[in-house]
Protein backbone atom coordinates (compact mmCIF):
# COMPACT_ATOMS: atom_id res chain seq x y z
CA UNK A 1 0.00 0.00 0.00
CA UNK A 2 1.51 3.29 -1.11
CA UNK A 3 0.36 5.72 1.59
CA UNK A 4 1.46 8.75 -0.40
CA UNK A 5 -0.63 7.70 -3.36
CA UNK A 6 -3.53 7.06 -0.98
CA UNK A 7 -3.17 10.52 0.53
CA UNK A 8 -3.65 12.15 -2.86
CA UNK A 9 -7.14 10.60 -2.95
CA UNK A 10 -8.20 12.51 0.19
CA UNK A 11 -8.68 16.20 -0.56
CA UNK A 12 -9.07 17.21 3.11
CA UNK A 13 -5.47 16.18 3.84
CA UNK A 14 -4.32 19.26 1.97
CA UNK A 15 -5.85 21.38 4.71
CA UNK A 16 -3.63 23.61 6.82
CA UNK A 17 -4.37 23.89 10.51
CA UNK A 18 -3.08 27.36 11.39
CA UNK A 19 0.52 27.26 10.18
CA UNK A 20 0.71 23.48 10.20
CA UNK A 21 -0.51 20.76 7.91
CA UNK A 22 -3.43 18.83 9.38
CA UNK A 23 -2.32 15.65 11.16
CA UNK A 24 -5.60 13.81 11.57
CA UNK A 25 -5.44 11.07 14.20
CA UNK A 26 -9.14 10.74 14.99
CA UNK A 27 -10.35 8.24 12.41
CA UNK A 28 -11.91 6.08 15.12
CA UNK A 29 -14.43 8.92 15.52
CA UNK A 30 -14.92 9.40 11.79
CA UNK A 31 -12.78 8.79 8.74
CA UNK A 32 -12.13 11.11 5.84
CA UNK A 33 -13.48 10.36 2.36
CA UNK A 34 -11.62 9.75 -0.87
CA UNK A 35 -12.64 11.64 -4.00
CA UNK A 36 -14.11 8.41 -5.41
CA UNK A 37 -16.70 8.34 -2.61
CA UNK A 38 -17.50 12.06 -2.70
CA UNK A 39 -17.87 11.90 -6.48
CA UNK A 40 -19.99 8.74 -6.49
CA UNK A 41 -22.65 10.52 -4.47
CA UNK A 42 -22.45 13.80 -6.37
CA UNK A 43 -22.73 11.88 -9.66
CA UNK A 44 -25.70 9.94 -8.32
CA UNK A 45 -27.53 13.18 -7.52
CA UNK A 46 -26.54 14.68 -10.87
CA UNK A 47 -27.55 11.73 -13.01
CA UNK A 48 -29.49 8.90 -11.32
CA UNK A 49 -31.49 10.33 -8.42
CA UNK A 50 -34.96 8.83 -7.84
CA UNK A 51 -36.70 7.14 -4.96
CA UNK A 52 -35.95 3.44 -4.85
CA UNK A 53 -38.45 0.54 -4.98
CA UNK A 54 -41.91 0.48 -6.48
CA UNK A 55 -41.52 3.09 -9.18
CA UNK A 56 -42.01 1.86 -12.72
CA UNK A 57 -39.96 4.36 -14.64
CA UNK A 58 -36.44 3.78 -15.87
CA UNK A 59 -34.76 6.39 -13.68
CA UNK A 60 -36.12 4.78 -10.53
CA UNK A 61 -35.15 1.33 -11.77
CA UNK A 62 -31.60 2.61 -12.23
CA UNK A 63 -31.53 4.13 -8.73
CA UNK A 64 -32.92 0.92 -7.24
CA UNK A 65 -30.30 -1.13 -9.03
CA UNK A 66 -27.55 1.09 -7.63
CA UNK A 67 -29.02 0.86 -4.13
CA UNK A 68 -29.28 -2.93 -4.29
CA UNK A 69 -25.85 -3.04 -5.90
CA UNK A 70 -24.43 -1.33 -2.82
CA UNK A 71 -26.11 -3.94 -0.65
CA UNK A 72 -24.46 -6.68 -2.69
CA UNK A 73 -21.05 -4.98 -2.31
CA UNK A 74 -21.42 -4.83 1.47
CA UNK A 75 -22.53 -8.46 1.51
CA UNK A 76 -19.48 -9.37 -0.55
CA UNK A 77 -17.18 -7.58 1.89
CA UNK A 78 -18.49 -9.67 4.78
CA UNK A 79 -18.93 -12.94 2.91
CA UNK A 80 -22.67 -12.68 3.57
CA UNK A 81 -25.70 -12.78 1.33
CA UNK A 82 -27.41 -9.55 0.26
CA UNK A 83 -30.70 -10.36 1.94
CA UNK A 84 -28.87 -10.38 5.28
CA UNK A 85 -27.78 -6.74 4.92
CA UNK A 86 -30.02 -4.10 6.49
CA UNK A 87 -29.15 -0.46 5.84
CA UNK A 88 -29.55 1.83 8.86
CA UNK A 89 -28.05 5.19 9.90
CA UNK A 90 -25.06 3.75 11.72
CA UNK A 91 -23.83 1.40 14.40
CA UNK A 92 -26.04 3.06 17.00
CA UNK A 93 -29.25 2.48 15.07
CA UNK A 94 -28.16 -1.06 14.19
CA UNK A 95 -27.67 -1.87 17.87
CA UNK A 96 -30.94 -0.20 18.89
CA UNK A 97 -32.70 -2.27 16.24
CA UNK A 98 -30.99 -5.42 17.53
CA UNK A 99 -31.80 -4.67 21.17
CA UNK A 100 -35.42 -3.80 20.50
CA UNK A 101 -36.25 -6.70 18.21
CA UNK A 102 -34.26 -9.37 20.06
CA UNK A 103 -35.75 -8.06 23.28
CA UNK A 104 -39.25 -8.54 21.89
CA UNK A 105 -38.59 -11.90 20.25
CA UNK A 106 -36.19 -13.63 22.61
CA UNK A 107 -36.05 -12.05 26.05
CA UNK A 108 -38.58 -12.67 28.78
CA UNK A 109 -38.89 -11.49 32.37
CA UNK A 110 -36.09 -12.94 34.47
CA UNK A 111 -33.89 -13.73 31.45
CA UNK A 112 -30.34 -12.55 31.28
CA UNK A 113 -28.63 -10.24 28.75
CA UNK A 114 -24.83 -10.11 28.87
CA UNK A 115 -22.62 -7.18 27.89
CA UNK A 116 -19.04 -6.28 28.78
CA UNK A 117 -17.39 -3.54 30.77
CA UNK A 118 -15.66 -2.27 27.62
CA UNK A 119 -18.74 -1.45 25.56
CA UNK A 120 -19.35 1.83 23.82
CA UNK A 121 -22.56 3.44 25.14
CA UNK A 122 -24.18 2.37 21.85
CA UNK A 123 -23.79 -1.28 22.83
CA UNK A 124 -24.72 -0.79 26.48
CA UNK A 125 -27.57 1.67 26.91
CA UNK A 126 -29.90 0.03 24.33
CA UNK A 127 -29.51 -3.26 26.23
CA UNK A 128 -30.25 -1.52 29.53
CA UNK A 129 -33.45 -0.29 27.92
CA UNK A 130 -34.33 -3.70 26.48
CA UNK A 131 -33.71 -5.32 29.86
CA UNK A 132 -35.93 -2.73 31.51
CA UNK A 133 -38.72 -3.25 28.96
CA UNK A 134 -38.63 -7.03 29.25
CA UNK A 135 -37.97 -7.20 32.98
CA UNK A 136 -34.69 -8.97 32.27
CA UNK A 137 -31.33 -8.82 34.03
CA UNK A 138 -28.29 -7.11 32.50
CA UNK A 139 -24.90 -8.53 33.44
CA UNK A 140 -21.59 -6.91 32.53
CA UNK A 141 -18.49 -9.07 32.19
CA UNK A 142 -15.48 -7.29 33.74
CA UNK A 143 -12.07 -6.68 32.16
CA UNK A 144 -8.64 -7.65 33.47
CA UNK A 145 -5.94 -5.25 34.61
CA UNK A 146 -4.35 -5.68 31.16
CA UNK A 147 -7.49 -4.35 29.52
CA UNK A 148 -8.75 -7.63 28.15
CA UNK A 149 -12.06 -9.34 28.64
CA UNK A 150 -11.94 -11.51 31.75
CA UNK A 151 -12.43 -14.86 30.09
CA UNK A 152 -13.09 -16.79 33.29
CA UNK A 153 -15.80 -14.35 34.33
CA UNK A 154 -17.31 -14.58 30.88
CA UNK A 155 -17.55 -18.34 31.14
CA UNK A 156 -18.94 -18.11 34.64
CA UNK A 157 -21.63 -15.58 33.71
CA UNK A 158 -22.69 -17.66 30.74
CA UNK A 159 -22.73 -20.91 32.63
CA UNK A 160 -26.07 -19.88 34.10
CA UNK A 161 -27.50 -19.15 30.64
CA UNK A 162 -28.32 -15.98 28.72
CA UNK A 163 -30.58 -14.96 25.88
CA UNK A 164 -28.28 -12.37 24.29
CA UNK A 165 -24.57 -11.61 24.44
CA UNK A 166 -23.72 -8.14 23.12
CA UNK A 167 -20.04 -7.39 22.86
CA UNK A 168 -17.64 -5.28 20.92
CA UNK A 169 -15.28 -6.75 18.37
CA UNK A 170 -12.72 -4.11 19.33
CA UNK A 171 -12.87 -1.56 22.12
CA UNK A 172 -12.84 2.02 20.84
CA UNK A 173 -10.93 3.06 23.98
CA UNK A 174 -8.57 0.19 24.83
CA UNK A 175 -8.11 -1.05 21.29
CA UNK A 176 -8.50 -4.62 22.60
CA UNK A 177 -9.71 -7.06 19.95
CA UNK A 178 -12.00 -9.66 21.49
CA UNK A 179 -11.77 -13.29 20.38
CA UNK A 180 -15.30 -13.35 18.99
CA UNK A 181 -15.20 -16.87 17.49
CA UNK A 182 -14.43 -18.44 20.88
CA UNK A 183 -16.78 -16.14 22.76
CA UNK A 184 -19.57 -16.89 20.27
CA UNK A 185 -19.12 -20.63 20.72
CA UNK A 186 -19.49 -20.30 24.46
CA UNK A 187 -22.51 -18.03 24.08
CA UNK A 188 -24.19 -20.37 21.61
CA UNK A 189 -23.69 -23.31 23.94
CA UNK A 190 -25.46 -21.25 26.60
CA UNK A 191 -28.35 -20.62 24.19
CA UNK A 192 -27.59 -16.96 23.55
CA UNK A 193 -27.73 -14.92 20.36
CA UNK A 194 -24.45 -13.06 19.79
CA UNK A 195 -24.53 -9.39 18.70
CA UNK A 196 -21.19 -7.85 17.76
CA UNK A 197 -20.34 -4.16 17.61
CA UNK A 198 -17.87 -4.10 14.72
CA UNK A 199 -17.65 -0.31 14.35
CA UNK A 200 -13.87 -0.40 14.90
CA UNK A 201 -13.06 -3.57 12.96
CA UNK A 202 -14.99 -3.84 9.69
CA UNK A 203 -13.34 -0.61 8.45
CA UNK A 204 -9.86 -1.80 9.37
CA UNK A 205 -9.41 -5.52 8.75
CA UNK A 206 -10.89 -8.46 6.86
CA UNK A 207 -14.06 -9.53 8.68
CA UNK A 208 -15.90 -12.63 7.54
CA UNK A 209 -19.20 -13.28 9.26
CA UNK A 210 -18.84 -17.02 8.86
CA UNK A 211 -15.42 -17.03 10.55
CA UNK A 212 -16.65 -14.73 13.27
CA UNK A 213 -19.51 -17.05 14.17
CA UNK A 214 -21.74 -14.30 15.56
CA UNK A 215 -25.42 -13.84 14.74
CA UNK A 216 -25.55 -10.06 14.24
CA UNK A 217 -22.96 -7.45 13.38
CA UNK A 218 -23.19 -3.67 13.39
CA UNK A 219 -20.98 -1.00 11.81
CA UNK A 220 -21.01 2.54 10.42
CA UNK A 221 -20.27 3.81 6.93
CA UNK A 222 -18.67 7.06 8.10
CA UNK A 223 -15.83 5.24 9.86
CA UNK A 224 -14.90 3.27 6.72
CA UNK A 225 -14.35 6.06 4.18
CA UNK A 226 -18.08 6.26 3.46
CA UNK A 227 -20.59 9.02 4.09
CA UNK A 228 -22.41 9.83 7.31
CA UNK A 229 -26.04 8.79 7.50
CA UNK A 230 -25.56 5.13 6.66
CA UNK A 231 -24.56 1.99 8.50
CA UNK A 232 -25.20 -1.69 8.39
CA UNK A 233 -26.81 -4.38 10.45
CA UNK A 234 -25.89 -7.82 9.27
CA UNK A 235 -27.79 -10.79 10.71
CA UNK A 236 -28.30 -14.43 9.83
CA UNK A 237 -31.30 -14.62 7.56
CA UNK A 238 -33.25 -17.09 9.72
CA UNK A 239 -32.85 -14.73 12.63
CA UNK A 240 -34.06 -11.72 10.62
CA UNK A 241 -37.06 -13.78 9.47
CA UNK A 242 -37.98 -14.41 13.09
CA UNK A 243 -37.73 -10.81 14.30
CA UNK A 244 -40.51 -8.24 14.41
CA UNK A 245 -39.85 -4.84 12.81
CA UNK A 246 -38.23 -1.95 14.67
CA UNK A 247 -39.46 1.13 12.79
CA UNK A 248 -42.65 0.86 10.77
CA UNK A 249 -44.03 2.80 7.81
CA UNK A 250 -43.75 2.61 4.03
CA UNK A 251 -41.78 -0.05 2.15
CA UNK A 252 -41.50 -2.43 5.10
CA UNK A 253 -45.08 -3.68 4.98
CA UNK A 254 -46.86 -6.36 3.09
CA UNK A 255 -50.46 -5.28 3.69
CA UNK A 256 -51.84 -2.40 5.72
CA UNK A 257 -55.36 -2.05 7.06
CA UNK A 258 -56.58 0.65 9.40
CA UNK A 259 -56.52 -1.83 12.26
CA UNK A 260 -53.27 -3.63 11.58
CA UNK A 261 -50.50 -4.51 9.18
CA UNK A 262 -48.33 -7.41 8.03
CA UNK A 263 -44.64 -7.20 7.28
CA UNK A 264 -42.47 -7.61 4.23
CA UNK A 265 -39.65 -10.14 4.34
CA UNK A 266 -36.13 -9.12 5.41
CA UNK A 267 -34.21 -7.01 4.70
CA UNK A 268 -37.10 -4.72 3.69
CA UNK A 269 -38.98 -5.39 6.93
CA UNK A 270 -36.26 -3.41 8.71
CA UNK A 271 -35.99 -0.50 6.27
CA UNK A 272 -39.09 1.64 6.90
CA UNK A 273 -39.47 4.71 4.74
CA UNK A 274 -37.08 6.20 2.24
CA UNK A 275 -33.68 4.67 2.94
CA UNK A 276 -30.43 6.64 2.68
CA UNK A 277 -30.02 5.48 -0.90
CA UNK A 278 -27.52 8.10 -2.05
CA UNK A 279 -25.40 7.27 0.99
CA UNK A 280 -25.64 3.57 0.10
CA UNK A 281 -24.11 4.40 -3.26
CA UNK A 282 -21.33 6.26 -1.42
CA UNK A 283 -20.78 3.33 0.93
CA UNK A 284 -20.59 1.01 -2.07
CA UNK A 285 -17.82 3.21 -3.50
CA UNK A 286 -16.03 3.10 -0.14
CA UNK A 287 -16.21 -0.71 -0.12
CA UNK A 288 -14.74 -0.73 -3.63
CA UNK A 289 -11.95 1.60 -2.54
CA UNK A 290 -11.08 -0.46 0.53
CA UNK A 291 -11.23 -3.70 -1.44
CA UNK A 292 -8.84 -2.27 -4.01
CA UNK A 293 -6.40 -1.39 -1.25
CA UNK A 294 -6.98 -4.84 0.22
CA UNK A 295 -8.14 -5.15 3.81
CA UNK A 296 -5.18 -7.31 4.70
CA UNK A 297 -2.88 -4.45 3.69
CA UNK A 298 -5.08 -1.91 5.45
CA UNK A 299 -4.70 -3.95 8.62
CA UNK A 300 -0.94 -4.30 8.21
CA UNK A 301 -0.64 -0.53 7.72
CA UNK A 302 -2.63 0.10 10.94
CA UNK A 303 -0.55 -2.38 12.91
CA UNK A 304 2.67 -0.73 11.73
CA UNK A 305 1.49 2.70 12.86
CA UNK A 306 0.15 1.44 16.18
CA UNK A 307 3.45 -0.27 16.85
CA UNK A 308 5.31 3.02 16.33
CA UNK A 309 2.83 4.80 18.57
CA UNK A 310 3.07 2.19 21.32
CA UNK A 311 6.85 2.24 21.23
CA UNK A 312 7.02 6.01 21.27
CA UNK A 313 4.46 6.41 24.02
CA UNK A 314 5.74 3.60 26.25
CA UNK A 315 9.28 4.93 26.33
CA UNK A 316 8.11 8.31 27.65
CA UNK A 317 8.02 8.05 31.44
CA UNK A 318 5.41 10.79 31.77
CA UNK A 319 2.90 8.82 29.69
CA UNK A 320 0.64 5.90 30.68
CA UNK A 321 -0.83 3.74 27.93
CA UNK A 322 -4.09 1.78 28.33
CA UNK A 323 -4.88 -1.61 26.82
CA UNK A 324 -2.81 -4.49 25.44
CA UNK A 325 0.83 -3.82 24.56
CA UNK A 326 0.92 -6.15 21.57
CA UNK A 327 0.00 -4.12 18.45
CA UNK A 328 -1.44 -7.17 16.72
CA UNK A 329 -3.94 -7.62 19.59
CA UNK A 330 -5.30 -4.11 18.98
CA UNK A 331 -7.40 -2.07 16.62
CA UNK A 332 -5.70 0.96 15.05
CA UNK A 333 -5.87 3.23 18.07
CA UNK A 334 -4.09 3.97 21.35
CA UNK A 335 -5.41 5.65 24.49
CA UNK A 336 -3.01 7.29 26.91
CA UNK A 337 -2.59 10.00 29.54
CA UNK A 338 0.12 12.45 30.54
CA UNK A 339 0.80 12.29 34.27
CA UNK A 340 -1.27 14.85 36.17
CA UNK A 341 -2.43 16.57 33.01
CA UNK A 342 -6.03 16.68 31.88
CA UNK A 343 -6.48 15.11 28.42
CA UNK A 344 -8.44 18.16 27.28
CA UNK A 345 -5.37 20.30 27.76
CA UNK A 346 -3.31 17.86 25.75
CA UNK A 347 -5.83 17.86 22.90
CA UNK A 348 -6.01 21.65 22.83
CA UNK A 349 -2.25 22.05 22.80
CA UNK A 350 -1.85 19.41 20.10
CA UNK A 351 -4.53 21.09 18.00
CA UNK A 352 -2.40 24.21 17.97
CA UNK A 353 0.29 22.11 16.27
CA UNK A 354 -2.24 20.84 13.74
CA UNK A 355 -2.52 17.43 15.43
CA UNK A 356 -6.12 16.30 15.85
CA UNK A 357 -6.65 13.68 18.57
CA UNK A 358 -9.67 12.98 20.73
CA UNK A 359 -9.83 13.43 24.51
CA UNK A 360 -12.70 12.49 26.75
CA UNK A 361 -14.62 9.43 27.84
CA UNK A 362 -15.02 8.14 24.28
CA UNK A 363 -18.64 7.20 24.96
CA UNK A 364 -17.44 4.57 27.39
CA UNK A 365 -18.01 6.13 30.81
CA UNK A 366 -18.15 2.86 32.78
CA UNK A 367 -14.81 1.82 31.26
CA UNK A 368 -13.16 5.17 31.95
CA UNK A 369 -14.41 4.92 35.54
CA UNK A 370 -13.02 1.37 35.75
CA UNK A 371 -9.62 2.69 34.64
CA UNK A 372 -9.81 5.21 37.45
CA UNK A 373 -9.41 8.31 35.30
CA UNK A 374 -11.63 11.19 34.26
CA UNK A 375 -10.81 10.82 30.58
CA UNK A 376 -8.07 9.72 28.20
CA UNK A 377 -6.35 10.97 25.09
CA UNK A 378 -6.82 8.77 22.04
CA UNK A 379 -4.90 8.75 18.78
CA UNK A 380 -6.34 6.59 16.01
CA UNK A 381 -5.09 5.97 12.51
CA UNK A 382 -6.20 4.82 9.10
CA UNK A 383 -4.99 4.24 5.55
CA UNK A 384 -3.88 7.84 5.00
CA UNK A 385 -1.71 8.23 8.10
CA UNK A 386 2.08 8.05 7.92
CA UNK A 387 4.90 7.16 10.26
CA UNK A 388 5.98 10.79 10.01
CA UNK A 389 2.65 11.83 11.46
CA UNK A 390 3.21 9.53 14.42
CA UNK A 391 6.55 11.28 15.00
CA UNK A 392 4.79 14.65 14.86
CA UNK A 393 2.33 13.40 17.47
CA UNK A 394 5.14 12.26 19.75
CA UNK A 395 7.10 15.48 19.59
CA UNK A 396 3.94 17.52 20.08
CA UNK A 397 3.32 15.48 23.23
CA UNK A 398 6.82 16.24 24.49
CA UNK A 399 6.14 19.92 23.92
CA UNK A 400 2.78 19.75 25.70
CA UNK A 401 4.41 18.03 28.63
CA UNK A 402 7.11 20.70 28.77
CA UNK A 403 4.44 23.39 28.90
CA UNK A 404 2.04 21.83 31.36
CA UNK A 405 3.95 19.72 33.82
Amino acid sequence: MDVHAVRRDFPILGRQQGDNPLVYLDSAATSHKPTAVIEAMAAFYRRSNANVHRALYELAAEATEMYEGARAKVAGLLGASAEEIVFVRGTTEALNLAAYTLGEARVQAGDSIVVTEMEHHANLVPWQQAARRQGARLQAVPITEGGELDFASYERVLSSGAKVVALTHASNLLGTINPVPELSDIAHRAGAVVVVDAAQTVPHMPVSVSELGADMLAFSGHKMLGPTGIGVLWARHELLEELPPYMTGGEMISEVHLDGATWARPPRRFEAGTPPFAQAVGLGAAVDYLSQLGLRDVRAHDVGLVQRMLEGLSCRPYISVYGPLDPSARAGLVSFNLRGVHPHDVATLLDQEGVAIRAGHHCAQPLVRRLGVAATCRASCYVYNTGGEVETLLSALDEAWRILR
Binding site: H342, H344, T348, L349, Q352, H361, A374, I403
Partner: protein, 120 residues
Protein backbone atom coordinates in the same frame (compact mmCIF):
# COMPACT_ATOMS: atom_id res chain seq x y z
CA UNK B 1 3.68 25.80 19.73
CA UNK B 2 1.50 28.72 20.70
CA UNK B 3 0.42 26.80 23.78
CA UNK B 4 -1.75 28.36 26.41
CA UNK B 5 -1.36 32.04 27.19
CA UNK B 6 0.97 33.09 29.98
CA UNK B 7 -1.93 33.96 32.27
CA UNK B 8 -3.37 30.46 32.14
CA UNK B 9 0.00 28.78 32.54
CA UNK B 10 0.96 31.05 35.41
CA UNK B 11 -2.24 30.35 37.36
CA UNK B 12 -2.10 26.65 36.50
CA UNK B 13 1.46 26.28 37.74
CA UNK B 14 1.09 28.50 40.79
CA UNK B 15 -2.57 28.56 41.73
CA UNK B 16 -3.59 31.46 44.01
CA UNK B 17 -6.02 31.01 46.86
CA UNK B 18 -6.29 27.28 46.45
CA UNK B 19 -7.68 25.45 49.45
CA UNK B 20 -10.56 25.85 51.85
CA UNK B 21 -11.75 28.78 53.96
CA UNK B 22 -12.29 27.97 57.65
CA UNK B 23 -15.78 29.54 57.76
CA UNK B 24 -17.07 30.55 54.32
CA UNK B 25 -20.23 32.66 54.12
CA UNK B 26 -20.97 31.46 50.63
CA UNK B 27 -19.94 28.31 48.79
CA UNK B 28 -20.85 26.37 45.66
CA UNK B 29 -19.50 23.48 43.60
CA UNK B 30 -19.90 23.18 39.86
CA UNK B 31 -18.86 20.17 37.84
CA UNK B 32 -18.71 19.37 34.20
CA UNK B 33 -19.76 15.73 34.17
CA UNK B 34 -18.50 15.26 30.66
CA UNK B 35 -14.90 16.19 31.29
CA UNK B 36 -14.69 15.59 35.02
CA UNK B 37 -13.75 19.18 35.82
CA UNK B 38 -14.80 20.23 39.33
CA UNK B 39 -14.53 23.66 40.92
CA UNK B 40 -15.56 24.71 44.44
CA UNK B 41 -15.74 28.44 45.15
CA UNK B 42 -15.82 29.74 48.73
CA UNK B 43 -16.37 33.35 49.85
CA UNK B 44 -16.12 35.25 53.09
CA UNK B 45 -18.11 38.47 53.20
CA UNK B 46 -17.67 41.63 55.21
CA UNK B 47 -20.85 43.60 54.84
CA UNK B 48 -21.55 43.62 51.15
CA UNK B 49 -17.96 43.03 50.12
CA UNK B 50 -15.95 39.87 49.49
CA UNK B 51 -13.24 39.79 52.13
CA UNK B 52 -11.75 36.42 51.15
CA UNK B 53 -12.16 33.93 48.30
CA UNK B 54 -10.67 30.51 47.80
CA UNK B 55 -11.17 27.73 45.28
CA UNK B 56 -10.57 24.04 45.24
CA UNK B 57 -11.03 21.43 42.57
CA UNK B 58 -9.52 19.32 39.87
CA UNK B 59 -9.57 19.15 36.13
CA UNK B 60 -8.00 20.78 33.16
CA UNK B 61 -5.57 23.69 33.27
CA UNK B 62 -8.13 26.13 31.96
CA UNK B 63 -10.80 25.35 34.55
CA UNK B 64 -8.30 25.49 37.43
CA UNK B 65 -6.47 28.57 36.17
CA UNK B 66 -9.77 30.34 35.65
CA UNK B 67 -10.80 29.57 39.23
CA UNK B 68 -7.49 30.83 40.57
CA UNK B 69 -7.72 34.02 38.52
CA UNK B 70 -11.30 34.58 39.61
CA UNK B 71 -10.46 34.42 43.33
CA UNK B 72 -7.92 37.20 42.81
CA UNK B 73 -10.30 39.35 40.83
CA UNK B 74 -13.20 39.25 43.24
CA UNK B 75 -11.45 39.92 46.49
CA UNK B 76 -12.56 43.25 47.90
CA UNK B 77 -15.32 43.67 45.34
CA UNK B 78 -18.93 44.48 46.28
CA UNK B 79 -21.19 41.46 45.93
CA UNK B 80 -23.64 43.40 43.72
CA UNK B 81 -20.91 44.01 41.19
CA UNK B 82 -19.91 40.33 41.04
CA UNK B 83 -23.40 39.23 40.13
CA UNK B 84 -22.95 41.26 36.96
CA UNK B 85 -19.63 39.75 35.92
CA UNK B 86 -20.20 38.67 32.30
CA UNK B 87 -18.99 35.49 30.58
CA UNK B 88 -17.06 37.61 28.13
CA UNK B 89 -15.07 39.34 30.89
CA UNK B 90 -13.99 36.00 32.28
CA UNK B 91 -12.99 34.74 28.85
CA UNK B 92 -10.97 37.78 27.92
CA UNK B 93 -9.25 37.89 31.31
CA UNK B 94 -7.78 34.49 30.44
CA UNK B 95 -6.35 35.69 27.14
CA UNK B 96 -6.74 34.03 23.76
CA UNK B 97 -8.81 30.85 24.06
CA UNK B 98 -10.30 28.38 21.60
CA UNK B 99 -14.08 28.31 21.57
CA UNK B 100 -14.16 24.56 22.23
CA UNK B 101 -12.93 25.21 25.74
CA UNK B 102 -15.16 28.01 26.92
CA UNK B 103 -17.20 25.74 29.19
CA UNK B 104 -13.97 24.93 31.06
CA UNK B 105 -13.14 28.60 31.33
CA UNK B 106 -16.56 29.48 32.69
CA UNK B 107 -16.95 26.72 35.28
CA UNK B 108 -15.58 28.84 38.14
CA UNK B 109 -17.79 31.75 37.17
CA UNK B 110 -20.83 29.48 37.22
CA UNK B 111 -19.84 28.30 40.70
CA UNK B 112 -19.46 31.92 41.80
CA UNK B 113 -22.91 32.80 40.49
CA UNK B 114 -24.34 29.77 42.24
CA UNK B 115 -22.67 30.79 45.50
CA UNK B 116 -24.04 34.32 45.24
CA UNK B 117 -27.53 33.04 44.50
CA UNK B 118 -27.72 30.79 47.53
CA UNK B 119 -29.24 32.06 50.75
CA UNK B 120 -29.42 35.66 49.57
Amino acid sequence: MKGYGEIILDHWRRPRNKGRLPAPDREAVEANALCGDVVRMQLELEGTRVSAAMFDGQGCAISQAAASLLTERIKGKPVGQLAQLADQEMLSALGELTSTRSSCALLALWALRQALKEDQ
